[in-house]
């Protein structure tokens, strides 16, 4: 029987999220003092040493990003942007952090900003997250009043301003470059990469973009040190990870555990097992832009390196459980409808490809065994072409669920 290991969520449900005093009494903003008493370089070095990887989906080493953003053009304006758009279906862990402990995120952002010498930060938050929005708004004004934000923070020479920008309900706006466009007040179309945000981000300035959970890890790393951080998780995925477990389970919810947790333990011990008590049929890891795994993968260790070996992804930490009684074709159709709907339409392969494969998937429902197999095959081929030729990661995503469906569930789909 495994248990949660609450580090990020340790104060969640314990302190009053609307009270900065509660947060401070629980040891909050201590990490900030530690950071400010050292040099920015030290902050970056500590994060690099911690091995923290981005929790937004791509798992990119956070320290490397910070180094890149700090390195360019001394003296220029820099920005820190928190990605709180949380649009990936089945993902709700950032919301848990923001609603239960907004100051943790704020503290993480100030530390990040200090590390790269940014003077301004934005939290790009999913528009529908009203409570998170309100809590953060309140917390930010408290932080200003208490001198954690604004000019000369805690008497140091460092100043930092922080602002919230609500998004407008587009999945793609969670993609970092599109988010920067949206922050600049433009329509949410992706930018051409490179340049990456660390080179030319918001208004062309070096910008650090990190996920909420990533930033919420920084206070711990700075206060207790990188080796403390590395004592959780695995060697290549250090730290804890919050999984959003949902679907056909008895106790859906956010669970913070050591990275590397065994998939079945997560489902059975923490999420209460499947609803009908039978072995699950499939799990979709990482949301719509994620990968399907079959029950034979129930011993999977949930860390980047192991998942990669088995051609699965960790993504944002979404774990969508498909019970034995549920059909896969409708699920697949709804994923493809999602991509069709969320494709911004800028590039040809994704705009038309997502429409085309969705239309094809609809034809599957009434089709027989062989034509289902051939339609799925055709869809996978299209998705592969889209992955090669699309402009941004959205168009490169449908291949992930489709290919894994075909690999593990070809026959199931043909016969269900």
């Amino acid at each position: 029987m495994i248990r949660e290991k609450r580090i990020i969520l340790r104060n969640s449900g314990v302190i009053d999220p609307d009270s900065i005093a509660d947060y401070i009494n629980a040891g909050g903003y201590k990490a900030l003092s530690v950071a400010l008493s050292g040099t920015p370089v030290k902050v970056v070095e500590e994060v690099v040493a911690s091995g923290l990887r981005g929790r937004g989906g791509a798992g990119f080493p956070t320290g490397t990003k910070k180094q890149a953003a700090a390195a360019r053009d001394a003296g220029t304006i820099r920005y820190v942007v928190c990605n709180a758009d949380e649009g990936e279906p089945g993902t709700f862990k950032d919301r848990a952090i923001m609603e239960s402990n907004p100051h943790l995120l704020i503290e993480g952002m100030i530390i990040a900003a200090y590390g790269i010498d940014a003077e301004r930060g934005y939290i790009y938050i999913r528009g529908e997250y009203y409570d998170s929005n309100r809590r953060l708004e309140h917390a930010i004004s408290q932080a200003y009043e208490s001198g954690y934000l604004g000019r000369e923070i805690l008497g140091s020479g460092f100043s930092f301003d922080l602002e919230i920008k609500p998004g407008a309900g587009s999945y793609l706006c969670g993609e970092e470059l599109t988010m920067l466009e949206s922050l600049e007040g433009k329509r949410g179309y992706p930018r051409i990469k490179p340049p990456f945000p660390a080179e030319k981000g918001l208004w062309g300035k070096p910008t650090l973009v990190n996920n909420v959970e990533t930033l919420a890890n920084l206070p711990g790393i700075i206060e207790h040190g990188s080796s403390w951080f590395r004592s959780s998780g695995t060697r290549r995925t250090p730290g804890t990870k919050i999984f959003s477990v949902c679907g056909d389970v008895r106790k859906p919810g956010c669970y913070e555990v050591d990275a590397g947790v065994i998939l079945n333990d997560l489902i059975n011990d923490l999420a209460g097992g499947t609803r009908n008590g039978k072995p699950w049929k499939a799990v979709l890891l990482g949301g719509a832009a994620g990968t399907f795994v079959p029950y034979s993968c129930n011993d999977l260790s949930m860390c980047y390196e192991r998942l990669k070996e088995r051609c699965a992804t960790l993504g944002s930490g979404a774990v969508i459980v498909v019970g034995s009684g549920r059909k896969l074709i409708p699920l697949m159709q709804s994923i493809l409808r999602f991509f069709r709907h969320e494709s911004c339409g800028k590039c040809v392969p994704c705009r038309i490809g997502t429409t085309y494969i969705h239309e094809r998937s609809l034809e599957m429902s009434g089709a027989g065994h062989d034509s289902r197999i051939s339609i799925l095959d055709e869809m996978v081929n299209h998705a592969r072409q889209m992955a090669i030729s699309s402009l941004c990661p959205l168009g490169q995503s449908p291949i992930l669920p489709l290919e894994t469906l075909q690999r593990h569930f070809n026959e199931t789909i043909a016969t269900e």
């Binding site: 051409i192 069709r340 339409g345 429409t355």
Partner: protein
């Protein structure tokens, strides 16, 4: 000047290619004949990476890369064509055909269609998918006067959006909805009623005919185009290069010419759609002689015989100075050159002028005196690259739309703009600071700026010492004169807050480079010359001249208003600004013309308004008017009308019956610009080649041929020119600033004068080393502010200002014969401030009578905060409401320009 970039060497499909470092890979590949497909890329736009057709492989880079988004680097190894790439491209094209309605009607160039053929997809059987576009419920937008948008043909390449935003600086277009359902909207919905002003840049850059031109849609067939002719725009002085498509002897389309100065393919609504007048049924096609008060058709022989006889008779009876000529700012250099030669020889007088007197004569006078050249000092491209632009009395967005595109692009890159205008203009949106002085107080304002500049030591002492005549001594006088123009004093006169004055002075004087663009608001005043002196003073003491991207520019009104003066249509100067009073000049000209030196008059002639005043006084008896319409364009029209009536013999040579032809004794049918070979000079002194697209209608003749024949009939024969080319050859011989220019050279591109010899490359910026004055130095002219004579009073409580609109041009003889332009605006109006509207009980749309001390008119009210309280603005193009019935013919004593910008009026409801 752009710095030459280093060259790099790289390979595409094994072929070695050399190109400037950092250039666009797709562009370079195509220039080297490697036809990588691609639909969303356009040379003029930032890369979009949308269509993905230009994917290539680059050694060392992961996956497929869009070549349109990559810069070339040394040693790069590119694969542009292999099986995988071609398969991917073919799939992408099939995808496009899935959403795209590929019906083609042959009325537009279709880049997608070319690719469809190239990849063998023209037959539906060869395509991968059954199309889905019919299921997407797209609605065609037909609401614009100039274009139609059909979303089913749209491939969402972003070219139109970027054309509108990045190229024209208007930013009207965007996508709405998402994914495959997305389509283009203008503003927040359909084109009609949006801010789209009809320039058609989106049409020109749309690769698939999703946006197409409305005019001639029914007629045009690209396969039946018999010729396409590159020529000059017939409207304003920007001098845009256009390509006219001719089908069945008629012009059916005008495209912007890509890749050449001054416009690089851009046009405004007039240049793109304003050609319809050429084929108007109203064109004059036969000579007309007035007999017993009405016009009767006549033969050329009859008409020319009569004209020659009558003019000769007047010359013999009353002397040469009883004759006068109005040249034309719309005719070519060749036409105008021959015209002034005709007036100076056959008439024997220097009484030659034209409407330039009514636009920038004061500017030219001041510039000639202070700096020695009567033209803009910079090139159009500098409007984008200078650090600071001081725009005064110049509604540049409406009157010089393409110059304005450069300005707007500059603003995006951080250019600072100072607007000085009593009336709101669209440029105010882009301005760092807007000064809104009361009408007629410019001198006080400019002296105030000079005062602030001197106070803050933002002057350039070294420049003053080295390049200003009298150096610091002369400067001292200016300092003393402007000492009393303190910000507080200037605020009192002009109404402009001291803080704004400070800001403007600081921006102009301290920017690394700064240019002035001065317009009609400055020049069309009784103090016009003094106004411009003040501007030049400010420029000289700050050293914002004599370097690249610095100087002063008066964007010119008509397509050849610059050229006509350059080639001698001036009462003071022979071609090339050589004074007629100078004996040597007279000798030189007489020699080239082969006339006795004594036959050329040494007396300066009368100017435009003076000619009419002399007509009124019965001192001028006969006039020859070529392509001008003084009965709209001259001030105090009631007086002009009387003058024309009192003259013994009036000849008007034009393409249309106009307000002026009514007063003619003989009307000679002439040719439009589309029927001519020749040259024009635009606002940045660029000599541009115009070419013939269609033949003259009916018996209409080329202007120069009419003049030529008349000269012969009056006993002053000119050489037998075989072509316009030969006329230009002679012109170049008497015009030192154009001596090095020839038709052969112009085939390679335009040349900016001065160009003194055939190896000279032309002059993009004037005054880099010296001014063109006798001493080589610039001159300061300190002048005092004096209140205007024309003042409001109890009877005439409002001050009327007049000006132009984007959609119309000059006296509207051409623009109002074009349906598209009429569709945008076809009515006169008067803008008045809401406060005045309340005061005089006027509401939007009310019909009113406007009266001045000289005349009256009727028009419609538009209530608008664009004008200051106490001031009224009217466009002057409309014959139904002739603004110049209200204006004065009091003249600027130096340049003889009239004050169109300032007339006291009253408004009453009818």
């Amino acid at each position: 000047m752009l710095q030459a970039k280093e060259m790099v060497i790289f390979t595409i499909d094994g072929r070695t290619i050399e190109a400037p470092d950092d250039s666009n890979l797709l562009e370079i590949a195509r220039r080297n004949g490697i036809a990588i497909p691609g639909l969303c890329y356009h040379r003029k736009l930032t890369p979009t990476g949308a269509c993905r057709l230009c994917l290539v492989k680059i050694e060392g880079m992961r996956g497929l890369i869009t070549s349109c988004t990559v810069k070339v680097t040394e040693g790069m190894k590119v694969t542009a064509f292999d099986r995988e790439l071609e398969d991917t491209r073919k799939l992408l094209l099939n995808y496009l055909l899935y959403e795209h309605n590929d019906a083609y009607d042959g009325t537009y160039p279709d880049e997608l269609r070319e690719l469809i053929f190239r990849y063998g997809l023209e037959k539906p059987d060869n395509r991968y998918f059954k199309p889905v576009w019919e299921k997407l419920k797209f609605v065609t937008d037909d609401s614009s006067p100039v274009l139609t948008y059909d979303p089913s043909k749209c491939i969402k390449c972003f070219r139109c959006i970027k054309a509108c935003d990045e190229v024209q600086g208007k930013n009207v277009l965007s996508f709405t909805d998402r994914g495959i359902d997305s389509f283009i909207i203008a503003g927040t919905g359909i084109w009609g009623g949006s801010e789209c002003d009809g320039c058609g840049e989106c049409i020109q850059l749309c690769p698939t005919g999703a946006i197409v031109e409305k005019p001639n849609r029914e007629v045009i067939n690209l396969e039946k185009i018999e010729k396409s002719v590159v020529t000059n725009c017939p409207y304003c002085g920007v001098g845009c290069q256009i390509e006219l498509l001719v089908q069945d002897g008629r012009i059916v389309r005008s495209n912007g010419v890509e890749g050449v100065s001054p416009n690089d393919g851009r046009l405004c609504v007039k240049g793109r759609f304003g050609y319809e007048f050429v084929h108007s049924p109203d064109r004059l096609t036969r000579p007309l002689i007035k007999r017993n008060g009405s016009f009767e058709e006549a033969t050329w022989d009859e008409a020319l015989g009569l004209v020659a006889d009558r003019f000769t008779e007047i010359r013999n009876r009353f002397g040469a100075d009883a004759l006068a000529g109005y040249a034309s700012a719309k005719c070519t250099n060749e036409d105008n050159y021959l015209f002034q030669k005709f007036i100076r020889t056959a008439f024997g007088t220097n009484n030659i002028d034209y409407c330039t007197r009514l636009c920038h004569a004061s500017t030219v006078t001041a510039m000639l005196k202070a700096m020695g050249d009567g033209a803009g000092s910079n090139s159009i491209e500098d409007f984008e690259t200078t650090d600071c632009l001081f725009v005064i009395g110049n509604n540049i967005i409406d009157t010089h739309p393409i110059t304005a595109t450069y300005v707007k692009r500059g603003v995006v890159k951080g250019q600072k703009i100072i607007v000085v205008d009593p009336k709101w203009t669209p440029l105010v949106r882009y301005a760092t600071v807007w000064l809104q002085p009361r009408l007629g107080t410019d001198i006080a304002l400019l002296n105030g700026l000079v005062h602030i500049i001197i106070k803050n030591r933002w002057t350039d002492t070294k420049f003053i010492e080295e390049r200003v005549e009298g150096g610091l001594e002369a400067f001292k006088q200016l300092e003393e004169l402007t000492a009393r123009y303190t910000p507080a004093y200037v605020e009192e006169i002009t109404g402009v807050p001291a803080a704004s004055l400070n800001m403007a002075a600081m921006l102009y004087a301290t920017s690394p480079t700064a240019m002035i663009a001065t317009g009609m608001g400055m020049s069309q005043q009784v103090t016009g010359t003094h106004n411009v002196f003040c501007l030049i003073n400010m420029m000289l003491i700050t050293g914002q001249v004599g370097r690249e991207r610095c100087g002063i520019n008066p964007p010119r009104g008509q397509n050849n208003v610059q050229g006509a003066t350059d080639v001698g249509c001036s009462p003071l100067n022979y071609p090339g600004y050589m004074p007629v009073t100078n004996d040597d000049n007279r000798r030189r000209v007489a020699e080239v013309w082969g006339v006795p030196y004594e036959s050329l008059s040494p007396e300066p002639g009368l100017t435009t308004v003076e000619i009419m005043q002399a007509g009124y006084d019965r001192r001028i008896k006969g006039i020859y008017i070529m392509g001008e319409n003084p009965m709209i364009s001259d001030p105090n029209l009631n007086h002009t009308e009387e003058a024309l009536k009192r003259m013994d013999f009036v000849v008007v040579q034009d393409i249309f019956p106009t307000e002026t032809t009514r007063f003619a004794d003989v009307i000679l049918p002439a040719s439009s610009w589309a029927e001519k070979e020749g040259t024009y000079v635009n606002s940045d002194r660029r000599v541009l080649r115009g070419r013939k697209a269609v033949g003259c209608p009916g018996e209409a003749r080329l202007d120069w041929k009419i003049i030529h024949e008349l000269a012969g009939r009056m006993g002053w024969p000119m050489p037998e020119y075989r072509s316009e080319n030969e006329i230009f050859g002679e012109l170049a011989r008497v015009t030192p600033i154009m001596a090095g220019i020839s038709y052969v050279r112009l085939e390679q591109g335009s040349i900016q004068w001065p160009c003194p010899d055939k190896d000279h490359p032309g002059t993009p910026t004037l005054y880099l080393d010296r001014f063109n004055t006798s001493t080589g130095r610039g001159k300061l002219f300190p002048v005092e502010y004096v209140p205007q004579n024309e003042q409001t009073d109890r009877d005439y409580p409002l001050m009327l200002n007049s000006g132009r609109l984007l959609y119309h041009y000059h006296t509207a003889t051409m623009s109002r014969r074009t349906k598209v332009l009429r569709d945008f605006v076809d009515e006169s109006f008067a803008q008045i401030h809401p406060g005045d509207a309340g005061r005089y009980g006027l509401t939007e749309g009310a019909r009113v009578r406007i009266e001045s001390r000289r005349g009256e008119l009727e028009t419609t009210v538009r209530v608008s905060e664009d004008v200051l309280e106490g001031e009224v603005f009217m466009p002057w193009h409309f014959t139904e409401s002739q603004v110049n019935r209200l204006t004065r013919d009091e003249l600027d004593p130096y340049s003889r320009i009239a004050p169109f910008k300032l007339s006291a009026v009253r408004i009453t409801k009818i």
